[in-house]
Symmetry: C2
Subunit: 334 residues, 2 copies
């Protein structure tokens, strides 16, 4: 006989177990939760019956009554992008330290998926941490008061907490380094996704003029290795005199490295490359990548920390605390 409402067999409840053993449900509860106040033999009979019947307590019922367990949603555009892999790993680690559960959502770089995720997430988690691209008012509408921590939101976040990446000094140091090495024609591979130039681009421009150079030539790259390859090829085709490039991130930089090799340009002799992020991956390529590096573990940890503060209403991080610094880390490519 099938039971109930279409969604497969009715679930086995604590009452079923109690009935089978001929005890009350409290007794079952005691047995299952290793409370004392129960005779060993009774406990064993309950446990046996529970196993027999395939009983498993409802997490909702349990969660409803003992209000512990907090879980946060982690929303990222693409887990296979090493930057987000590192951030996710860091967030998982920080959450584990607090005994939190992390529900991960990979939106696959699609806005509709981000929207869909936010729509459904409110009923699943106590707070959201994420790299979100939707406008703030839309996020607000979808999350309805759920604590939200934005990661690396370039536009100043007005209504939400955010962990910023402060790479201004790092980028300045990077350009200064290139200039000191004699480079005069420095290009940038910015990322193409957004309509306006990135903040990193702004930092680049400022650093260039601080070094007395005209603003460099810029090519836009998809956030992928192929994107970096294509962008560098375009840049060099139009401006063959460029001898150094700064890139929006390490992924693009690695693409640039590959393109340079293909074009027969030796790095760093013929072309110097400096990335941004400081990914582990950058240490594996040849030559190892010079980059404006940030501590992704700290980034993830801060985001989780801030979520915790919002949850306990213990006051958000200060503007300065809510940022990770990115600093120049020289290696083989520049």
């Amino acid at each position: 006989m099938m039971a109930s409402s279409g969604t497969g067999p009715r679930r086995v409840t604590i009452d079923d177990v109690a009935r089978a053993v001929g005890v009350s449900r409290q007794t079952v509860s005691r047995a299952l939760n290793d409370k004392g106040e129960i005779e060993a033999s009774t406990k064993q009979r309950v446990l046996d019956a529970a196993l027999e019947l395939g009983y498993r307590p409802s997490r909702f019922a349990r969660g409803l009554v003992r209000q512990d367990t907090t879980s946060v949603g982690l929303v990222i555009p693409d887990l296979l992008n090493p930057f987000f892999t590192e951030v996710a790993a860091a967030a998982l680690e920080a959450a584990r330290a607090r005994g939190w559960h992390v529900v991960v959502y990979d939106t696959g770089d699609r806005v509709e998926e981000e929207r869909g995720t936010l729509e459904v997430i409110a009923s699943q988690v106590d707070a959201v941490v994420g790299y979100l691209t939707l406008p703030e008012d839309e996020i607000d509408k979808l999350t309805r008061g759920l604590p939200v921590v934005l990661i690396d939101r370039e536009q100043r976040a007005e209504r939400f907490s955010a962990i910023r990446i402060d790479g201004e000094a790092g980028v300045h140091a990077a350009i200064r380094h290139l200039v000191d090495a004699g480079h005069r024609h420095i290009g940038m591979l910015d990322h193409a996704a957004r309509s306006e130039p990135s903040i990193r681009h702004t930092w680049f421009d400022a650093a260039m003029s601080a070094c007395g150079l005209d603003s460099g030539t810029v090519s836009r790259a998809d956030q992928s290795i192929e994107g970096g390859e294509n962008a560098l090829e375009r840049l060099l085709a139009e401006h063959p005199d460029v001898t150094a490039v700064f890139t929006f991130n390490d992924i693009i930089a690695i693409g640039a490295l590959r393109a340079a090799r293909r074009l027969g340009r030796q790095v760093p002799q013929d072309l110097a490359v400096i990335g941004f992020d400081g990914l582990r991956l950058g240490t594996l390529v040849e030559p190892p990548l010079s980059t404006v590096a940030l501590d992704t573990r700290e980034l993830g940890a801060l985001a989780v920390e801030e979520a915790g503060r919002l949850l306990t209403r213990s006051g958000p991080l200060s503007h300065d605390e809510a940022a990770v610094k990115a600093e120049l880390r020289l290696s083989g490519s520049a």
Copy 2:
């Protein structure tokens, strides 16, 4: 004034909102869930009050009554290990397609963390998918009837569903390829974590003898790039005549590539290297890695599929279906 039981302010319930507006809780529920049967003005008043009071519905209470939403736990040893990154991304994608939520646990390669995770997971998810290292009876004890799908469990899983990696033919093809290229002294870098040789090692031995060669020399490597570097150095120090190596996985192979470069051995001329897994990362290194490749997306998808079958009791995948084939993919390194 602080309220109640130490765990911060008492939560705002639907009754609080109802009271504030002067309606019943059902009316509040209707307003919040966009049901019809409510006057627009009433709805607005409710929504305003809810926002005002900072009301957010309890996911437990809601989940308790409408028994939809399934969530699975994904347990992996190390998200930063690219193999698991790919598997996780694949699992997330497959889960998203079904509207499932995925709670991710990174045990950091520590058994105690794996145990702790399993202990707590039963009350959080409807099923577990994971790369688990604990013995089956212990997993059984900790998960107590929760559907469990093991990924790439080398020992034949008796009590649990598992998705296997079938690389026997692929490894055979790899060794055959090396032999055809003239290699006679072929080594293997197996992984060091477990006490017994891996199945991949077994395949290697079988392939070697099928090619009429004595079983190759083996060095054991930690599952990391450094591990691969060290292991290759040891192997070549003891057996300088080795001209080709097969490795437990791509990570170790990439380490081997780096060590070879450092030792002044040209790849593939002086040393041929073939990995296992077919990671995206392998295409980025120089030379690009030849490898016995499997489809990690399929691996993740199958695991989720199997979890779904267990959940709906619709019969597990057959032994053949529950495996992904790994096949030789030649590239620059061999």
